[in-house]
Amino acid sequence: MMRREPRTRSKAVSVAGFALLLCLVLAGPVWAATTIQLSWSPNTEPDLAGYRLRYGTSSGTYTQTLDVGRVTSSTISGLDSNLTYYFVLHAFDTSGNVSLPSNEASGKPKVVVGPAPTVSSVVEVASNSSYIMQSGRHTLRIVGTNFQSGAVAGLGADATAGATSLSGSTQLTLTVDIAATAALGPRTLTVTNPDTGSGSKASALTLVRTADINRDCMVDGADLNSIGRAWATTSSNPAYNSAADLDADGSVDGSDVAIFAEFFGLKLAVCP
């Protein structure tokens, strides 16, 4: 091992000064994660090789080590904005001698909120429509701006959203499970970036009853049969079939056929 006991006499490598700056450093044009920037006064020993940062979330206990080279500042990223971090700095020379630690510096990173995301359009991928059916699993394509990797999207109650995948910063793909009892009607889609920036679109999608009326995982002629049999009926009519009233407006009519047509011919990945 190259590491020796740190020298404590005049030849020893020492840390001349160490200061912690809590800074917000934009890592790119879109957003910045939680970071802390540290800087210190340079050593003057001619055989100085570099500096070693040690840090952790408890004073005096440093679980992370980072050799930062022969520099006088460093930015630590990927930190938890809810925690306080404690840092010490060591200098080491070309012979591998390591100094005693500097004074401990501590700080809490701040969160930088980048440009808020905007949502311009949302479609249910299988039907390429703005309808999403009760029950089952659906994939959504969300188009907008300023999306970040790891963004979370939601459709409100009884819609369990999975992880998003990002294409550029303008398109998110999302899988969402809709409960069989989810409330029908327009839904607001919200996108929240990891930096807490958030954007939403009201009435982005309309939740409708499943077009797979007979629940055989296929939207086909048998389901259209249910609509035909309940055609032009209202909820007071004995022939009315609420399952065929896809938009739940109390009548089986052209709007239900329009919704059905969007899903006709689909084999559902998850049966309703």
Partner: protein
Amino acid sequence: MKSTRYWLTARGAGILMGLAISALIWSCKGGGNDNSPVPCTTITFDAADAAPAAGDVFLSATGSTCSTVNVSVVINNLSGIFTVGFDLTFPSSVLQYDSYTVGPLLQKSSTIAPIVLVTPLSSGLQVAMTRLLTDGPVAATNNEVLITFQFSKKSAGTGMIDFNSSSSSTVTEEVLDENGQTRPASFGPGHGGSVVVP
């Protein structure tokens, strides 16, 4: 001024005469006639179900030219027809789907036009048709046309047009009555046909 006008008129007459002579030579060139019919071979569709039985749903050619072919879905002797669903495959390398025409069967005594959904795919069609509540079911007497699809030539070749009963199909081949019950209809195998595009 007057002499100038006269000169222009004489020149115009010369040009007109030249054009007339050119047109005469052009029209007589080769002694042929541009309106002569060009011989061609019509597209043929050879239906596989030559002797349909009761309840058969099958394909039949109902007209073709050198560049188009009409293929009808026909039902033989079946009652209680309210809804029909099926999907077709066709050779997309030689034919292109253009349009459809609803046949008389589902429109019998209807007060409301039936709902017809036709979804064209890259090499197939998904179809669902239904009568509506107040009109009740209909019966096919002998052979009656449900719907006719118009295809046009894409390139020369051959292939099959048939109902898609493969595992990849996402539309069930079926005829349903006004109660949602399945009628005893048969979509094959052997209810399609082969097409030859010259």
